[in-house]
């Protein structure tokens, strides 16, 4: 592959997709407002300013992965399958984005076939960036972010235990 010019679609490649970005915010919202009760997508959509249609796609993926459970009916909606302190943010992001890596496997030559320079860059740069990225997202739990969200928005957690 010999690219000739800078492709337009390359500009935002480094960004996480809206699925990952909105999905994370929706999961934080669910962790803050659910407390074991089912929460409707409409209420998450309203609080987070994300469309309900979009959240339906995101939650369909989250449900398939087992991170959330759904219930139909008047009292229906979504609830976390596990305690937020047991859910690593990395797990949520991988469900929504796939493996977290700064390079595309497709773009890389097969390891045996790559030039010395490319091999040095892969080992010393991309793999180090990938390791740090994955370590970071696996060191933060959904509860850590929910706690931060409560603090920032003045939500008193204790009121739910009354």
């Amino acid at each position: 592959m010999k690219p000739i010019g800078f492709a337009r679609e390359e500009v935002d490649k480094l960004k996480f997709s809206t699925k990952g970005r909105y999905g994370l915010r929706a999961m934080i919202d669910l962790a803050v407002y659910s407390n074991g009760e089912y929460v409707t997508l409409a209420s998450i959509a309203e609080r987070q300013g994300i469309s309900t249609n979009y959240l339906e796609q995101v939650f369909s993926a989250l449900r398939k992965s087992g991170l959330v459970k759904s219930a139909k009916g008047a009292q229906g909606g979504y609830v976390l399958s596990e305690s937020p302190s047991d859910i690593k943010v990395g797990r949520i992001l991988r469900v929504l984005e796939g493996p977290l890596s700064v390079t595309d496997e497709d773009d890389e030559n097969l390891a045996g076939n790559e030039s010395c320079i490319r091999n040095c860059i892969r080992i010393n740069v991309w793999e180090k960036m990938n390791n740090s990225l994955n370590e970071l997202v696996d060191s933060v739990t959904l509860e850590d972010l929910a706690e931060d969200y409560r603090k920032r928005n003045g939500i008193d957690n204790s009121m739910y235990y009354i």
Binding site: I4, C116, I123, L133, R152
Partner: protein, 153 residues
């Protein structure tokens, strides 16, 4: 969440330039041949890198490019920031996106944004900790290893 072709190829071309700078200025054609990239593509990348003060160009028949600083003084982060912009995983933390502040009322007080910022900082720290000299050393040691190997066969 990917580094673009521009960033990957740009870094590769700079390491190639650093490896061959000991022989003086390097022309784009030779980099293009060794890295199997088009010369026009490398030229585009080098124009950006020259404007950012990472490479200097020398005109004339014997012209070509040189690194404007010692390879130990140029980090992977310098190259990627020039070619990719800030290593921001979401648009609202890129330095230039002042617009986000006006379009998103959660801008200053957003848990998710704060988390993404820590992702950006982690990626930047790694990129800033690796110099072009480190990559040249890696190349030299793997190159001498492959020569040793040929002698043994």
């Amino acid at each position: 969440m990917k580094i673009s072709t521009k960033g990957r190829y740009g870094l590769e071309a700079i390491v190639d330039l650093a490896i061959h700078s000991s022989e003086g200025r390097v022309n784009l054609k030779s980099i293009a041949e060794r890295c199997e990239m088009s010369e026009a593509y490398i030229l585009q990348i080098f124009l950006v890198l020259r404007r950012a003060g990472i490479v200097d160009s020398i005109r004339g028949a014997q012209g070509g490019y040189v690194l404007s600083r010692d390879p130990s003084q140029i980090t992977v982060g310098d190259i990627l920031t020039v070619l990719e912009g800030p290593l921001a995983p979401v648009p609202c933390i890129a330095e230039k996106s002042k617009r986000a502040k006006t379009t998103c009322n959660r801008f200053d007080n957003c848990t998710a944004r704060n988390f993404w910022e820590s992702v950006m900082n982690t990626l930047s720290e790694v990129a800033n900790s690796i110099t072009i000299e480190d990559l040249v050393k890696c190349y030299n040691s793997s190159f001498s290893q492959s020569i040793d190997l040929e002698y043994y066969i």
